[in-house]
C-alpha cells in the first residue's frame, strides 16, 4: 500500500481546524450582532487595526451610515462600537491568516515536490473558492448600507455558511486522502456508502436551513417542543407573498423546515450508524460510526434545548457541533472508500459457474 504524506496531510488538517475556528469566530460575531460594524474591505492591508482616534472616528462614521445603526443603535458610544468591532475584526484577520497558512506551505511543498501538480491545482481551486467566499462575505456586509436591512439577510448568510461547509468538506476529504492514498478493502461494507452519502447530503441541507433560522432570528419564536405553540405545523406558515419567500424569510416556516429536516436527518443518520456498527468493520471506520452516532445524539439534544430555552449562546454551540457532526460523517465515508460488496459464498460461486 502506498504510504501517505503525513506532513502534508497534517498541514491540510490544520487548515480544516482553522475553518472550524472561522465558524467559531463568525458564529460569535453573528450571535452578538456584529456583522455590519466594519464597512471597509481592504483585502491586504485590512489586518492592520485602527491606531489613532482619527481611524476610529472614520470607521465609526462608516458604520453610522448603516440602517442597523440608525434603527437599532442611534445612541451607541465609541466604546460600545469597539466591543462589537474587535470580534468582527478578529474574524476577518483569521481569514487572512488562513490564506497565508494555505499559500506559503503550498508553494514550498509544490517546489520541493511533495505536492504533485494535480494536487496543487486542486488545492489552488479550493483556495480560489476560499477567496470567493471572502468576497461574498464582504458583499453580505455591504447589504447593511441598504435601507431597511437591519441584519445580514438570510439569502446571503445561508449560502455564505453552506459554501464554507462545502470548502471544509472538500479540504477534509483531500487531507484524509493525502494521509492515506490507497483505500483499504473492506469486504461486505459497500452498502454503507449510499447511506453515508445520504447522511452527508442531509446534514448539509439541514445546516443550510439552520443558517436560515439564525439569519431570521427565528429562535425568538415558538420556544416549545415538540409542537410549535401547540400546533404541529405553525400558524402563518405561508403568510408571505410570493410563497417562495416564506422559505427564506418567514420565521415560522424557516424554523418548522429546520425541525422537520433535522428529525429526518437524525433518523437516517442513526439508521446508518446502527447499520455500520452491526457490520464487521476495522477499528477506524467503527469508531467513526460511533462518533457519528454520539455527535448526532448531542446535536439533536442541543437543538431541542436551544429552542426550548431560546438561548442564542446554546444555538452557537449547536452550530459548532453541526460542523463536528459533518466531520464525523465525512471521515466515516472516507474510511469506506475501499469497501466492496459481500464476497460470494462458495455455493454462489458454484451456482454462477
Amino acid at each position: 500500500m502506498k504510504p501517505g504524506d503525513r506532513l502534508v496531510g497534517l498541514w491540510l488538517l490544520i487548515l480544516c481546524g482553522m475553518i472550524f475556528g472561522m465558524v467559531v469566530g463568525g458564529g460569535h460575531a453573528r450571535t452578538i450582532g456584529a456583522g455590519f460594524v466594519i464597512q471597509v474591505w481592504q483585502p491586504v492591508t485590512g489586518f492592520i487595526p485602527p491606531r489613532s482616534a482619527r481611524d476610529w472616528t472614520r470607521l465609526f462614521g462608516l458604520y453610522q451610515q448603516t440602517a442597523q445603526y440608525k434603527a437599532l443603535h442611534p445612541a451607541m458610544t465609541l466604546g460600545q462600537f469597539k466591543t462589537l468591532f474587535w470580534p468582527m475584526f478578529f474574524d476577518r484577520v483569521w481569514g487572512r491568516l488562513m490564506a497565508l497558512v494555505f499559500v506559503i506551505p503550498l508553494t514550498i511543498f509544490w517546489l520541493i515536490g511533495r505536492v504533485s501538480n494535480r494536487l496543487a491545482l486542486w488545492l489552488l481551486a479550493i483556495f480560489a473558492a476560499g477567496g470567493a467566499q471572502a468576497a461574498f462575505g464582504w458583499y453580505m456586509v455591504q447589504t447593511g448600507l441598504r435601507p431597511g436591512v437591519l441584519s445580514p439577510p438570510p439569502a446571503w448568510l445561508a449560502p455564505h455558511f453552506l459554501s464554507a461547509m462545502l470548502i471544509f468538506a472538500a479540504l477534509l476529504w483531500t487531507a484524509l486522502t493525502v494521509r492515506q492514498p490507497s483505500a483499504a478493502p473492506i469486504a461486505g461494507a459497500a452498502f454503507l456508502k449510499p447511506w453515508l452519502n445520504a447522511c452527508i447530503g442531509l446534514i448539509l441541507v439541514t445546516m443550510g436551513l439552520g443558517a436560515l433560522v439564525a439569519a431570521t432570528n427565528a429562535i425568538t419564536v415558538f420556544n416549545t417542543f415538540p409542537t410549535m405553540d401547540g400546533r404541529w405545523v405553525p400558524t402563518g406558515y405561508s403568510s408571505l407573498h410570493p410563497l417562495a419567500l416564506n422559505f427564506i424569510a418567514n420565521q415560522a416556516t424557516v424554523q418548522f423546515d429546520h425541525r422537520l429536516l433535522a428529525t429526518l436527518t437524525a433518523l437516517i443518520t442513526l439508521t446508518t450508524a446502527v447499520l455500520g456498527l452491526r457490520t464487521a468493520l476495522p477499528p477506524g471506520p467503527r469508531d467513526a460510526f460511533l462518533a457519528l452516532a454520539g455527535l448526532l445524539a448531542l446535536q439533536y439534544l442541543l437543538g431541542m434545548v436551544t429552542i426550548i430555552s431560546g438561548s442564542p449562546e446554546l444555538g452557537f454551540f449547536h452550530e459548532l457541533n453541526a460542523v463536528l457532526l459533518l466531520t464525523a460523517a465525512v471521515i466515516a465515508r472516507h474510511s469506506l472508500r475501499g469497501a466492496t460488496a459481500a464476497p460470494m459464498y462458495s455455493s454462489q460461486i458454484a451456482a454462477a459457474e
Binding site: 420556544n223 416549545t224 417542543f225 415538540p226 409542537t227 442513526l270 446502527v274 456498527l277 452491526r278 477499528p283 467503527r286 469508531d287 460511533l290 452516532a293 454520539g294 445524539a297 439533536y300 439534544l301 431541542m304 434545548v305 426550548i308 430555552s309 431560546g310
Partner: protein, 354 residues
C-alpha cells in the same frame, strides 16, 4: 452444556417445553409493561382516587345500574379530593375519572389470571421443572402483594385535605412493580437459555453495565418522586427554573433529606442530574461493548440501550417542555424498555469472565 446435565434436569427441560414456558413468562412481562402505561395514565389524569373500595374478587365488575353508579359516585363525593378539586362534578365527569382506575385494577386481575392458570396447567402436565415451582409460586403471591400495595397507596389519598396519594407510597408501588418485572423477565430468559456461555474478557463490560443499571434504577425511583410530587410544575422557561441548574431553594425543607422527596425544585433537579449521569454511563457501556470483542447479541443489546437512552432523554426533555401527559407516560414506559434491554444484556453477559 453437556447432554448429561440436560438429562439430569429431566424431560421438563426439553427445548420445546422451555420455549413454551418462557413464552408464557414473556407474555406476563409484556402485560406488566402495559400495566405501567395504564398506571401512568391513571396517575396523570388524577383518576387514582375514584374508586373508594377494594374488593379483590367482586370488584372486577363495574357498576351495571344507575343505582350502582350513584352508589360509588356518592362514595367519591365524601373524599377531600372531590370537595377540594371537583365540587359540583356530574356523573359523566366522574365516569371519566372512574374508567382509567377501573381498567388499571382489571388489568391487574387479568395479569393474575394469566400468571396463575398456565402455572397450574404447566405444573400438572410436567412442563415446568420442579425446582422452579416454588419460585413461580412466590412471584404469584408477590403479585398479589403488589395489588395490596396499590390499595395501601390509594388509601393514603383519602386523608383529610389530601387530593393525591402520598408520593412515597407511589414510589413503593412502582418500585415493587419493577422488581416483579425484572424477576419475571430474568426467569423467562433463564428458562429459555439455561446455560451461561463463557465469555472471557467481558468481565469489565459486565461490571460497567451492572453499574449503569443500578444508576438507572435510582433514576427511575427519583422519577417516581417527580411524578408523585408533580415537580414538573416547577418548570418555567422564563425564569430558567427546572432547566437543569441547581435550584436556589434546594434546602428549603428541614430536615435536609426531606428535600430529596418533597421539595419540588430539588426533586426535579435530582432526577435531571441522575438522568444525565445515567445517560452518560449507559453511553460508555454501549461504546465499551461496541469497541470491544463482545459477541453479536451483546453488541446488538448495546445498540438498543444506546438508542433507548437517547430516546429516553429526548422524551424527558419533551415531557418537561411540553407538559403533555402522554409524553410523560411514554417517558415512563420507555424507561421500562430501557430496563428491559439492560436485563437482557446482563443476562447475555452472565458467563463473563476475566
Amino acid at each position: 452444556m453437556s447432554q448429561a446435565i440436560l438429562n439430569a434436569i429431566g424431560t421438563a427441560a426439553s427445548t420445546r417445553n422451555r420455549r413454551t414456558v418462557s413464552l408464557w413468562l414473556f407474555a406476563v412481562c409484556f402485560m406488566i409493561w402495559v400495566m405501567v402505561g395504564i398506571g401512568g395514565y391513571t396517575r396523570d389524569t388524577g383518576s387514582g382516587l375514584s374508586i373508594m373500595n377494594w374488593d379483590p374478587i367482586i370488584g372486577a365488575l363495574p357498576p351495571l345500574t344507575a343505582a350502582g353508579w350513584n352508589h360509588i359516585f356518592g362514595l367519591y363525593q365524601q373524599i377531600p379530593q372531590y370537595k377540594i378539586l371537583h365540587q359540583g362534578m356530574d356523573l359523566a365527569g366522574f365516569k371519566a375519572l372512574f374508567w382509567p382506575e377501573y381498567i388499571h385494577r382489571l388489568w391487574g386481575r387479568l395479569i393474575g389470571l394469566v400468571f396463575f392458570v398456565p402455572l397450574v396447567l404447566f405444573a400438572l402436565t410436567g412442563k415446568i421443572e420442579a425446582r422452579l415451582l416454588p419460585w413461580l409460586g412466590l412471584l404469584f403471591i408477590l403479585g398479589g402483594l403488589q395489588g395490596a400495595i396499590g390499595w395501601f397507596m390509594v388509601a393514603s389519598g383519602f386523608d383529610p385535605n389530601s387530593v393525591a396519594v402520598e408520593p412515597w407510597r407511589l414510589t413503593l408501588h412502582f418500585s415493587f412493580a419493577m422488581f416483579l418485572y425484572v424477576a419475571t423477565l430474568w426467569t423467562a430468559l433463564t428458562v429459555r437459555d439455561p446455560v451461561a456461555t463463557r465469555l472471557p474478557g467481558q468481565l469489565g463490560l459486565r461490571r460497567w453495565v451492572a453499574g449503569a443499571v443500578i444508576l438507572l434504577a435510582i433514576t427511575m425511583v427519583a422519577g417516581t418522586f417527580v411524578s408523585g410530587t408533580h415537580a414538573i410544575d416547577v418548570f418555567n422557561p422564563a425564569t430558567k427554573a427546572g432547566m437543569g441548574m441547581p435550584p436556589p431553594n434546594y434546602f428549603a425543607l428541614q430536615p435536609w433529606w426531606l428535600n430529596m422527596f418533597a421539595n419540588k425544585p430539588a426533586v426535579l433537579f435530582d432526577h435531571q442530574l441522575l438522568g444525565t449521569a445515567t445517560a452518560l454511563t449507559v453511553l460508555v457501556a454501549a461504546v465499551m461493548a461496541l469497541r470491544g470483542s463482545a459477541p453479536k447479541p451483546v453488541r446488538d443489546a448495546a445498540l438498543v440501550i444506546a438508542a433507548l437512552v437517547l430516546l429516553q432523554y429526548i422524551l424527558g426533555i419533551t415531557a418537561l417542555a411540553s407538559k403533555l401527559l402522554d409524553v410523560g407516560v411514554a417517558h415512563q414506559m420507555n424507561a421500562v424498555l430501557l430496563l428491559t434491554a439492560f436485563v437482557v444484556m446482563l443476562h447475555q453477559l452472565r458467563g463473563a469472565a476475566r
